[in-house]
């Protein structure tokens, strides 16, 4: 094992030079083929309508227009996408019979440039018969509600009741039961780069090549191939080296890969489509809006006996894979950091006339922890103990790791008490409470919030099957699913420099920097001697179903694959050098960038020396050794198993931990919230680059703040989007960023090669909880508890005005 000279250092990002000087290569920088034509997508202005017909003749007659594809062509040429539930929901790349949300694609117009394409898109006539609309998930399940999919017969896409332990017994035995209803808003990520797709059909080879900023999971590759009726080895996905952010959202680009791919096949020209911001807000992807009913059963000392979750998750007009991950993605960590064993989850996945949903940073964990951590405060209040104590009392102990949760999760490592203590200490919790007492005495509204969260990373795709009934899964024709895999290839050129090739699709995470640090340490070289290539190409890269850069997997899967590939290559260098020295491999060791005799003095062989000899003179290799200096490693977690008959599944592979403390002051007259203090402590195992980790935490926290205070894809009762521009869909900017104090605890993962865990989603999943708790604590004298996000000033004012009205009367 080499010394870690580079791992743990804030090595400057090798990506930043090109990104900051405008030299990145994004999808819109791409003209990979000549004579590109440009697409504009015709979208539905109705939230719910039957399509009586299309008339593209006026558009086709316009100057510069090469062709139009309508939903009718899609119906003829495509199969529907596979969905994650058994209900008969037919989801196509464009609407074929009805539109079910505003912004749903109904046709594609291709012209010489985007301006002409948009002119012609306006000329495509679609004959709509408007239908009644429903946008609220609760109303969508009422009898008499408009039904989106007649074949389903209701708006329920799926329902599961999951029972772990004996929740009925827990509630029967409880001294106290606390109940609350919550609403979590629909919001996305608004990456600075929108979706982009370029498609070329090569009719002679029968190959469809699609360049796009798709980031995985690559399960979508076979899915798209099936929709288009192509063999998988005739469908090529290529991802440019730079993607301008995703945060999960770009995994949902795949319907457009099929739509633009089909258009290129039909029209026989290469086509480019870049989503504009209006389209992005209207119809890309978001998390679900959820109505949740929560119940906690506890002893009077605050010990939790069990919980009940009931959810209505609103997935919009169709259910698009990997939904219903909105309900089941966190299955293994449903209980969060707490010890209780009895849980009932009643999850309904509901379709309404809103845009479609999918993974969004923290995938469903922002919802989960908002509810759970609010409940912890309500429980503390009910039993009359401090919110710190009620959490301490229920935390999983440090001695319990690895810890198997009742829902099947395997928490690999951690010390939750120590991490929580560190957060309390860093925030000066006791002093904040004194500050609060003084503020309250002066009639001011000052509050302190806490939030604890298990931070799951590297989804095990097996969790998706939790949506299916165990009886269904027990059928012999059902094929179980599991896995979390990434690959890396490391090769040494004849002059001793290293190239590493990844199958990842970074969106700003700094994979090139991280990989160069790891390889530098493994091979005893400098990071600058490593060139990292991460342009994904399904024809040339080693990949599998669960490949891709999503679910915070690079920090553990990609890094493990990289280290293992480097070690394989190192073993080869050792064997080769031993052969050259005429000793056994056990008599030499790899250190300081070369192979040395363990005992005695001999001339060491440097990597450069070995590389030159191995490449230029294969005769010098020992018998049986493969020529060339390269090694590929594919790392897969062995703890990623399929869901069992009791609905238990280890839905992630590593589990970090987050403890946060926030203090706020609320101005009761304007309802403005000021963040006075915000401390966040993370345990993500071994940290490879602290600067990159901090960047992820800042970004995650701001993202969570967006959902908590600013961002909502809001609809009116007619299903029209009310927040379709950045004037109305408010994203927090640098001006809204609070000071963030970051601390770390390090509990290395025993499951990864370097002990690292994922951290890309981080505080996005805790900030909605911590700020809702802080604001509720601030407004406690008025009897206000936050149950709904975002806490817009107007909403908060209504609560304050109502409470003050009550206190006065």
């Amino acid at each position: 094992m080499s010394a870690t000279r580079w791992i743990g250092k804030s090595v400057a990002r090798v990506e930043d030079g090109r990104l900051l000087t405008g030299r990145g290569t994004f999808i819109d920088d791409h003209p990979p083929v000549a004579n590109l034509w440009h697409a504009a997508i015709v979208r539905s202005p109705h939230a719910h309508a039957r399509i009586r017909g299309w008339d593209a003749s006026a558009a086709l007659a316009m100057e510069g227009v090469v062709g139009v594809i309508t939903g009718s062509d899609v119906a003829k040429a495509c199969k529907p996408f596979g969905v994650g539930v058994t209900a008969p929901i037919h989801y196509y790349p464009a609407a074929t019979d009805k539109v079910r949300f505003v912004g749903e694609p109904v046709a594609v117009v291709v012209a010489r440039d985007r301006y002409l394409a948009e002119d012609a898109a306006e000329a495509v006539a679609v004959d709509y018969e408007p239908l009644p609309v429903v946008v609220d998930p609760e109303r969508a399940l009422e009898p008499g509600a408009p039904v989106l999919h007649e074949a389903v017969g209701s708006n329920l896409a799926g329902h599961r009741r999951l029972v772990y332990g004996d929740p009925d017994r827990a509630f029967a035995d409880a001294d106290v039961v606390v109940r609350e209803r919550f609403r979590f808003p629909k919001y996305g990520s608004t990456p600075i780069e929108t979706y982009g797709v370029i498609a070329r059909w090569d009719g002679l080879d029968g190959v469809l090549t699609i360049w796009s900023n798709f980031m995985g999971p690559f399960i979508m590759h076979p899915l798209v191939a099936r929709v288009l009726g192509l063999p998988e080895n005739r469908l090529r996905f290529i991802v440019p080296p730079d993607i301008g952010g995703s945060f999960g959202i770009k995994s949902s680009i795949y319907p457009y890969l099929a739509l633009i791919g089909l258009t290129a096949m039909k029209l026989g020209v290469p086509i480019k489509w870049i989503e504009d911001r209006r389209e992005h807000l209207l119809a890309s992807s978001s998390g679900t809006d959820r109505i949740a009913w929560r119940e906690v059963a506890a002893k009077k000392d605050g010990t939790i006996l069990g919980m009940r979750f009931k959810w209505y998750d609103n997935v919009g007009g169709y259910i698009r894979s990997p939904e219903p991950g909105c309900s089941f993605r966190p299955t293994g960590n449903f209980v969060g950091p707490y010890r209780f064993q009895n849980l009932e989850v009643d999850a309904s996945v509901v379709m309404t006339n809103k845009s479609l949903t999918g993974p969004n940073r923290g995938y469903a964990c922002g919802h989960l922890y908002f509810e759970t951590e609010r409940m912890m405060d309500l429980l503390a209040d009910r039993v009359g103990i401090d919110p710190v104590e009620v959490r301490r009392k229920n935390l999983i102990g440090a001695e319990s790791f690895p810890y198997r949760t009742p829902t099947g999760g395997l928490y690999d490592s951690g010390d939750y008490q120590a991490t929580f203590d560190k957060a309390l200490q860093a925030a000066g919790y006791e002093a904040l409470r004194r500050q609060q007492a003084e503020a309250r005495a002066a009639g001011r509204y000052f509050g302190i919030g806490l939030a604890l969260a298990v931070d799951p990373s590297v989804s095990n795709m097996g969790y998706v099957a939790t949506a299916l009934d165990p009886q269904f899964r027990a059928k012999p024709e059902y094929l179980p699913k599991s896995g979390a895999v990434d690959s890396a290839t490391v090769k040494i050129d004849p002059l001793g420099r290293v190239i590493a090739i990844l199958g990842t699709t970074p969106q700003g995470q700094g994979h090139q920097t991280i990989v160069s640090q790891i390889i530098a340490d493994e091979l005893g070289i400098e990071p600058r001697d490593v060139t990292v290539v991460d342009e994904m190409d399904t024809f040339t890269r080693v990949w599998s179903i669960s490949s891709g850069t999503y679910s915070s997997r690079f920090g553990s899967v990609g890094t493990s694959a990289t280290a293992l590939a480097a070690r394989k290559l190192k073993a080869k260098l050792v064997a080769y050098a031993a052969h050259l020295m005429g000793v056994t491999p056990g008599e030499v060791e790899f250190r300081d960038g070369g192979v040395h005799l363990v005992k005695g003095k001999g001339v060491p062989y440097s990597i450069k020396d070995l590389a030159g000899r191995a490449h230029w003179n294969t005769e010098s290799l020992p018998e049986g050794m493969e020529p060339a200096l390269s090694a590929t490693a594919v790392f897969g977690f062995t703890v990623a198993k399929a869901v069992d008959a009791e609905d238990r599944v280890n839905s992630s592979n590593t589990y970090g931990f987050i403890a946060e403390v926030m203090a706020v002051e609320v101005d009761p007259d304007t309802a403005a919230i000021t963040i006075v203090k915000y401390v966040t402590v993370h345990d993500a195992g071994t940290i490879i680059n602290p600067m990159i980790v901090e960047g992820q935490i800042y970004g995650g926290a701001l993202h969570g703040l967006g959902g908590a205070l600013y961002e909502e894809l809001a609809y009116d009762d007619d299903g029209q989007l009310l927040t379709g521009t950045f004037m109305d869909y408010l994203v927090p900017t640098a001006s809204e960023a609070p000071d963030i104090e970051i601390e770390h605890v390090v509990s290395p993962s025993p499951l990864t090669t370097l002990g690292s865990k994922g951290l890309g989603e981080s505080s996005s999943m805790t900030v909605p909880a911590v700020i809702a708790n802080a604001v509720s604590d601030a407004l406690r004298p008025l009897g206000i508890g936050i149950t709904e996000l975002p806490m817009t000033p107007s909403r908060l004012h209504a609560l304050i005005a109502a409470a003050r009205g009550k206190t006065r009367s």
Binding site: R114, Y115, E118, D119, D276, R277, R278, D669, T670, A671, A672, Y710, A714, L722, T723, T725, M727, D728, L730, P732, T733, S735, E736, T792, P793, S794, H797, A798, A801
Partner: protein, 288 residues
């Protein structure tokens, strides 16, 4: 988000601009800083046959102090106003309001004439124009005239200017020496249009209020001059009770609407809260 086809004309003079506007008979738009118009073009919410670009008419950008009035060429950038010594000295209320206008890149392009002619009732400059009861100079095919704010703003994004009128100048009366002033605003984020903004100026003579000027942004379809609230101060002085009464009156004078960002009730409430804060700050009563 590509605009529909339009013709583009770079006007060489005010007369040329008016001639072009006349030629299109109401189907042309004036391009000033473009901070509102260009997004509207890209959304195809505005589909003019032509744009008349007035950025290349040099005489339209100036700040001149003359006889107790500060005159601004319509194309004076907000960023210029922010750092103008004349504005700092004679119209500190306008300088403070400018800091609430968008972000630096917006202020670098945005103009005082464009902001006023666009007539967004949540914008800061229309409120300052209204509070100080300035005027705009308009050139049309039949010559120049001046228009007072009460006659200028008709409703959301709508003024009384004719399609072939060009707003060429904004005139604001210089504030009395030593007058207190404040621009209070509440927006959901820094740089957003106001949910409610209050422009306030108070000139005192001893304990007496010689003149009070108040206007609200964001509290209805046009910026609202809060004259009868001003009168309370001019009549009853500047004691706590008078300030409270003026703020309460202000809230009665506005007719706000509800939208995605705020209810009408909240806007009315904020009008009272921010009027009181603006007056107190204008008087230097509150400690910062």
């Amino acid at each position: 988000m590509k605009p529909a086809r339009f013709e583009y004309h770079a006007a060489e003079s005010v007369e040329h601009a008016v001639e072009l506007l006349t030629r299109y008979g109401g189907d042309a738009k004036v391009l000033a800083g473009g901070q509102s118009l260009v997004p509207m073009l890209n959304f195809r919410l505005a589909r003019p046959a032509a744009l008349v670009d007035v950025n290349r008419i040099p005489p339209l950008a100036f700040i001149r102090e003359d006889n107790g009035t500060v005159a601004f060429g319509a194309m004076t950038r907000q960023r210029t106003i922010e750092f103008s010594p004349v504005v700092a000295r004679r119209l500190p209320l306008l300088r403070e309001a400018t800091r609430w206008v968008g972000h630096l890149p917006i202020r670098s392009r945005g103009t005082i004439g464009g902001s006023i002619a666009h007539a967004d009732p949540s914008a800061e400059y229309p409120a300052v124009l209204t509070a100080l009861d300035g005027e705009v100079v308009v050139q049309g095919p039949r010559g120049r005239r001046t228009v007072r704010p009460a006659a200028l703003f008709e409703t959301y994004l709508t003024t009384s200017l004719a399609p072939d009128d060009l707003l060429v100048e904004v005139r604001l009366p210089a504030m009395p020496a030593g007058a207190g002033y404040a621009f209070e605003e509440f927006a959901r984020r820094h740089g957003d249009f106001a949910i409610v903004g209050i422009a306030a100026m108070v000139a005192r003579e001893g304990g007496r209020c010689a003149a009070a000027r108040l206007a609200a942004a964001g509290a209805g379809p046009v910026p609202v001059r809060l004259r009868s609230a001003e009168e309370i101060l001019e009549r009853d002085g500047l004691g706590e009770a008078a300030l409270e009464a003026a703020a309460a009156r202000a809230a009665e004078l506005v007719q706000p609407d509800s939208d995605i960002h705020a209810s009408a009730e909240y806007r009315r409430h904020l009008t009272r809260v921010l009027t009181l804060r603006a007056l107190k700050r204008a008087l230097g009563v509150t400690k910062s």
